[in-house]
C-alpha cells in the first residue's frame, strides 16, 4: 500500500511539472476577424515562402472589435502576449500607455512613413513615439442608391428632403447605419458631431462636448429614428447588419466603411453597379468629416527576437500585401501611391475620389483611457437613439464622465463611488433585475413544487424535465436565447404573433425594456429548477401527520397552506432565497453573452461593470474595491434574509 501511494504521488508531481511548463511556441500570432476571402491566408503564405524560418499564425476572432481588444488585453495581462498586435486606430494610446507595445521608431523611419497616409500614421503615435504601422485605412462614407436617387445630398437639409420624398417605411427606409452600443456607434456619432462643427476635446484638452453643436448632432441622429427614416433595428446594427439591410434594398442610404463597396459590386450582388459614394453629410455651413478608421500592426513587448516580427510587418504593409488585401477583401490601402495604382483603379475607379475623403479623415480622441471615453459615448448616444435619455441630459453626463476620466485616477476610491455615474446606473439595473427575477422564480418554483408533490403518471419525467434547464451551461444557452429572441428569425416572436398576443414581431434585444425582459425570462427559465428542488425537499419534510391533523382541526387546502405548509417551508425558502439573491445580484454569464450589458447599458449589472473595470479599463484596484464592498453588501443581505425568515420556534 505504501508503494501505491508513492507511485501516485510521484506520478501527480510529474503531471504537474509537465503541465506547468507550457511550450513557448516559436510562432508569431495575430488576432483578426474572420479571414473572408482568404486575404490574410495569402499574405501569410507568401511571407512563409520568403521567410521559411518565421511562422505566422492568424487567429480568427469575433467580429466585434471590442471583443478582440479584450482578447489582446487579456493576453497582455496574462503574461503570454500575442506577438503581432493587429490594432484598430483607437487602441494605440491605451496599449502604448500600458507599456504593452514596442516602439518601432528604429526601422519605421519618417522617410518610410511618408509613403503612408498621414492620418493613418499619426494614429500610430503616442507621446512622440510610433508603435503601429498602418495596414489598411478606413473612413466613414455615405453610400447611396444611384439608381433611385438622382443627386446625392451633401447637407443635412438636403438629406432630410430626400428622405421625406423617397423613403417608404417599413419597406424602404432612408438610411441604415451602425447604432448598436459599440465602437462603431462612436464613429457614426463623431461624423455628425464634427459635421456640425462640434468637438469632444478641444486642442487645450478641455471637454467641449456639451455644446450647442453637440446637441444638434444628437438631436439630428435621434430625429432619424423618430421620423422613421432609419429603422429602430439600427440599434442592434453593426457594419455587417447595415450592409445586409442595404444590399437587400431595405434602405436608400448607408453609412459604412469602404470595404462595403467591393462586396456590393461583386458578381452575385443584386446591387452591382447601382451604388455610389459621397463624403458623409454635414450641417449647412460646416464641412464633411469622415471618421478615420483602419488597422495596423504593432509588436508586443516581451517578444523574443522582435526582428522577426518586424520582418512580417514590413511585408504585410508592402505594396504587394496591401494589393492582396484590397483585391480579396476590399481593404483600403494605407499607402498613398496605391490610390493611383492602375490595377486598383481598373476595378475601383472611385478610389481617386476616395483619396480625397481619406486624406481629410479625422482621428478619434487620442488618450490612453480612450476605451472608457468611447464606452461613455457609446452608452449615452445609444441611450438617446433608443429614446431612453434626452439629448441634453446625455450630453451633460457624457461631458462630466469624460472629464472625470481625463482627470485621471486621482480621486480616492471612496470619492469615486459617489461620482461614478455608471456605478449608480449599474446598481439600479442590478436591483431591478434581482427584485423582479427572484420573486417570480419563487412563485413559479413553488407552484411547480406543489405540482410535483401530487401523484400523477409521468411525474418523474416532469421532475427530470424540470432539472434540465438548471444543468445546462448558462453561457451556451444564452446563445440559444439570443437566437430565440432574434428578430425576425426568432421563434418567440413567431409564437407570440401566431398565438395572437402581439400583432407585430417585437425587437426584443434592441430596446432597453425588451432586453431586460429577455434577460429576466432567460434567467427565470434557468434558475427556477433550483428553487423547485429545494422547495420540494421542504414540502416532503412536512410530516404527513401534521397535514392530517390540521385538516381535522378544520383547515381546507388554502388555509392549510398558510397555517402549516408555508411556515414550515420557511427554512428551505431561506436557503433558496440566499442562494438566489446572491446569484442574481452577481449575475454575469447570462447577460454577458445575451446582451453584453446593452442596449444603452440597460442590462449592465454590477458584476459586468466590475469585470469591465478590471479587464477592459485595466483598473484592478478599483475593481477589487468594488468587489469587497459588494461582498459586504451580500453578507449583510444574507443576514437580513435569515433574520426575516426565522420564526420564533427556531430561535429557541
Amino acid at each position: 500500500m505504501n508503494f501505491r501511494y508513492r507511485f501516485f504521488a510521484s506520478l501527480s508531481i510529474l503531471v504537474v511539472l509537465l503541465l506547468r511548463a507550457p511550450s513557448k511556441a516559436e510562432v508569431l500570432r495575430m488576432i483578426g476577424p474572420e479571414d473572408v476571402g482568404g486575404a490574410w491566408a495569402e499574405v501569410i503564405k507568401r511571407f512563409h515562402e520568403r521567410h521559411p524560418s518565421i511562422r505566422v499564425n492568424y487567429i480568427s476572432g469575433p467580429w466585434s472589435t471590442d471583443e478582440r481588444q479584450n482578447m489582446y488585453i487579456r493576453s497582455f495581462l496574462s503574461g503570454d502576449p500575442v506577438e503581432l498586435v493587429y490594432m484598430d486606430v483607437t487602441w494605440t494610446a491605451k496599449f502604448a500607455a500600458g507599456g504593452w507595445l514596442l516602439p518601432l521608431d528604429e526601422w519605421f523611419t519618417p522617410e518610410k512613413q511618408q509613403e503612408f497616409l498621414p492620418g493613418a500614421v499619426k494614429a500610430g503615435y503616442y507621446e512622440g513615439r510610433i508603435y503601429r504601422v498602418p495596414v489598411r485605412a478606413d473612413v466613414g462614407m455615405l453610400y447611396y442608391r444611384r439608381d433611385l436617387i438622382p443627386k446625392p445630398p451633401r447637407t443635412w437639409r438636403e438629406f432630410e428632403r430626400i428622405c421625406q420624398r423617397y423613403s417608404r417605411p417599413p419597406d424602404v427606409y432612408c438610411i441604415v447605419f451602425q447604432g448598436m452600443q459599440y465602437e462603431g456607434l462612436v464613429c457614426d456619432f463623431l461624423e455628425y458631431l464634427w459635421g456640425a462643427g462640434g468637438e469632444v476635446i478641444d486642442p487645450k484638452g478641455r471637454v467641449v462636448l456639451d455644446s450647442p453643436q453637440g446637441l444638434e448632432a444628437l438631436k439630428f441622429m435621434r430625429k432619424l429614428i423618430e421620423r422613421g427614416w432609419a429603422p429602430k433595428a439600427v440599434l442592434s446594427f453593426q457594419e455587417q447588419h447595415s450592409l445586409s439591410a442595404f444590399s437587400q434594398g431595405k434602405a436608400l442610404f448607408m453609412r459604412n466603411w469602404p470595404y462595403a463597396w467591393t462586396i456590393l459590386n461583386r458578381q452575385d450582388s443584386p446591387l452591382r453597379g447601382k451604388v455610389g459614394i459621397v463624403p458623409f453629410i454635414h450641417k449647412e455651413g460646416h464641412e464633411s468629416v469622415g471618421t478615420l478608421g483602419g488597422w495596423g500592426l504593432g509588436i508586443a513587448r516581451g517578444v523574443k527576437e522582435p526582428e522577426r516580427a518586424s520582418k512580417f510587418i514590413e511585408f504585410a504593409t508592402s505594396t504587394e500585401a496591401q494589393k492582396i488585401l484590397h483585391f480579396r477583401r476590399g481593404a483600403v490601402p494605407s499607402r498613398k501611391a496605391l490610390f493611383f495604382d492602375p490595377d486598383i483603379l481598373k476595378v475601383s475607379p472611385h478610389y481617386r475620389d476616395l483619396y480625397e475623403i481619406v486624406m481629410r479623415a479625422r482621428a478619434r480622441p487620442v488618450h490612453p483611457d480612450y476605451p472608457r471615453i468611447s464606452d461613455t459615448l457609446q452608452k449615452h448616444v445609444s441611450a438617446v437613439l433608443a429614446g431612453v435619455e434626452g439629448p441634453e441630459e446625455a450630453l451633460k453626463i457624457m461631458a462630466r464622465s469624460i472629464e472625470g476620466t481625463l482627470r485621471g485616477r486621482e480621486e480616492g476610491y471612496l470619492k469615486r463611488i459617489a461620482i461614478d455615474y455608471d456605478l449608480r446606473r449599474t446598481l439600479l439595473n442590478t436591483v431591478l433585475f434581482t427584485s423582479i427575477s427572484v420573486p417570480l422564480e419563487f412563485i413559479l418554483g413553488l407552484l411547480i413544487a406543489l405540482l410535483l408533490t401530487a401523484q400523477f403518471r409521468g411525474r418523474s419525467f416532469v421532475r427530470l424535465a424540470v432539472l434540465i434547464p438548471w444543468a445546462l451551461p448558462t453561457a451556451v444557452m444564452a446563445m440559444s436565447w439570443q437566437w430565440m429572441f432574434n428578430n425576425p428569425f426568432g421563434v418567440l416572436n413567431d409564437l407570440l404573433v401566431r398565438v395572437g398576443l402581439a400583432e407585430r414581431p417585437f425587437d426584443w434585444l434592441s430596446g432597453p425594456s425588451g432586453a431586460m425582459f429577455a434577460a429576466i425570462f432567460a434567467d427565470l427559465w434557468k434558475t427556477t429548477p433550483f428553487v423547485v428542488i429545494i422547495l420540494l425537499a421542504g414540502l416532503h419534510s412536512i410530516p404527513q401527520e401534521l397535514k392530517e391533523s390540521i385538516s381535522i382541526d378544520g383547515a381546507g387546502p388554502l388555509r392549510r397552506f398558510f397555517h402549516l405548509t408555508f411556515p414550515l417551508l420557511l427554512p428551505f425558502v431561506r436557503v433558496a432565497l440566499i442562494f438566489r439573491v446572491i446569484h442574481a445580484a452577481g449575475i454575469f454569464d447570462l447577460i454577458w453573452v445575451l446582451t453584453k450589458g446593452g442596449p444603452a447599458d440597460s442590462t449592465r449589472t454590477l458584476c459586468i461593470y466590475i469585470y469591465e473595470v478590471a479587464f477592459r479599463y485595466d483598473e484592478l484596484g478599483y475593481a477589487i474595491f468594488l468587489t469587497v464592498l459588494f461582498l459586504l453588501a451580500l453578507i449583510g443581505m444574507s443576514f437580513l434574509i435569515v433574520r426575516l425568515t426565522t420564526l420564533g420556534y427556531e430561535r429557541t
Binding site: 476572432g61 451556451v476 444557452m477 428569425f489 428542488i533 420540494l536 416532503h540 458584476c607
Partner: protein
C-alpha cells in the same frame, strides 16, 4: 386537487423546460439556408448535418471539446480527492465543530464566481498558470471544494463509526480505512458529486474566459460565445445551435441517468443546511 388537471399542467411545465433545447436541436438540424427562412418552420423540412460539420471546420471545435474534457475531468478528480480527505477528517471531529466548519466553507460557495474572478486571476497569474489547464483545474477545485465536502460529509456520516473501529482492530491504516471502506460505501454520493462537479466545470464560463485567453485553450462555452460571422452578412446561427447541441447533450444525458440521486443529494444537503 382535481386529477385531470395535473397531467396537462405537468405537460405545460415540461414544454416550458424543454422547449429551448428542442428548438436549438431543430435549428441545428436544419440545412443552413432553411435556418433563415421565413416563416419559421418548427420541424425541419429536411434534416441536415451540415451545421455540425461546419462547426468542426470553421473553428477548432474539437480542440475546445478536448480542452473542456481535460479541465472538467481534472477538476472533478482533484476536487473529489481533496474533498474526500477533508470530509474524512471532519468525520472524526465533534459534530458541532464539523458543521460550523462546513458552514464557513459554504460561505465561500455562496459567493458568486464573478466576485472571485479577480483574486483568482491574480493568484493564478502569480503561479504562472495562465493559459494552462492546470490553472483552471485548480480554480475549479477551489470553487467546488465546499460542495464536495458537504456532499461527502453527509454520505460519510451515514456510515457507522463502528465500522472504522472494527477496521482499526483488524489492522487497517487510516488511508486504508478511507480507501477500502469509506469510499466504497459512499459510491452513490461519490457518483452524484462527480456528476454535478463535472457538469459545473463543463458549463463554467467566466473563469475559463479570463484564465485562458489563448484561443487554442478555449473551453467549449467560451469557444461557442466567440463564434461569429462566417460571412459578413450573417452570424452563423445554424452552426452556433449545432455547437450548443453538442455541448449540452452530454450534460442532459448525465442528468437523465442520475436524476433521482441528484435530487436526493441536493435534498439531503438542503435539509442539513
Amino acid at each position: 386537487m382535481r386529477r385531470a388537471l395535473l397531467l396537462p399542467l405537468g405537460l405545460l411545465v415540461v414544454i416550458y423546460c424543454l422547449f429551448p433545447f428542442f428548438w436549438t436541436v431543430v435549428t441545428a438540424l436544419k440545412p443552413p439556408q432553411e435556418v433563415f427562412s421565413l416563416p419559421i418552420r418548427y420541424l425541419p423540412k429536411a434534416l441536415s448535418a451540415e451545421n455540425f460539420v461546419e462547426v468542426f471546420h470553421k473553428r477548432p471545435f474539437s480542440r475546445y471539446i478536448f480542452n473542456s474534457l481535460i479541465v472538467a475531468t481534472g477538476g472533478t478528480l482533484l476536487t473529489l480527492v481533496l474533498a474526500s480527505l477533508v470530509a474524512f477528517r471532519l468525520r472524526y471531529m465533534p459534530v458541532q465543530r464539523a458543521l460550523s466548519f462546513q458552514r464557513w466553507l459554504l460561505v465561500g460557495a455562496i459567493v458568486p464566481p464573478t466576485l472571485l474572478v479577480i483574486p483568482i486571476f491574480v493568484v493564478i497569474k502569480a503561479l504562472g498558470l495562465i493559459n494552462n489547464p492546470l490553472g483552471l483545474i485548480l480554480s475549479y477545485c477551489f470553487l467546488n471544494l465546499p460542495f464536495g465536502v458537504w456532499m461527502l460529509y453527509a454520505a460519510f456520516s451515514r456510515i457507522p463509526k463502528e465500522l472504522d473501529e472494527a477496521a482499526m482492530i483488524d489492522g487497517f491504516s487510516w488511508g486504508g480505512i478511507l480507501l477500502r471502506i469509506i469510499l466504497p460505501l459512499s459510491r452513490a454520493a461519490l457518483a452524484v458529486s462527480a456528476a454535478l462537479i463535472f457538469i459545473f466545470c463543463w458549463n463554467e464560463f467566466l473563469i475559463a474566459l479570463t484564465l485562458m485567453p489563448d484561443q487554442n485553450r478555449y473551453t467549449v462555452p467560451v469557444g461557442i460565445s466567440m463564434l461569429s460571422g462566417a460571412s459578413i452578412y450573417e452570424i452563423p446561427w445554424g452552426q452556433i445551435n449545432a455547437a450548443v447541441t453538442l455541448t449540452t447533450l452530454p450534460v442532459i444525458l448525465t442528468v437523465a441517468l442520475l436524476e433521482r440521486w441528484i435530487v436526493e443529494g441536493l435534498t439531503a444537503g438542503a435539509i442539513k443546511g
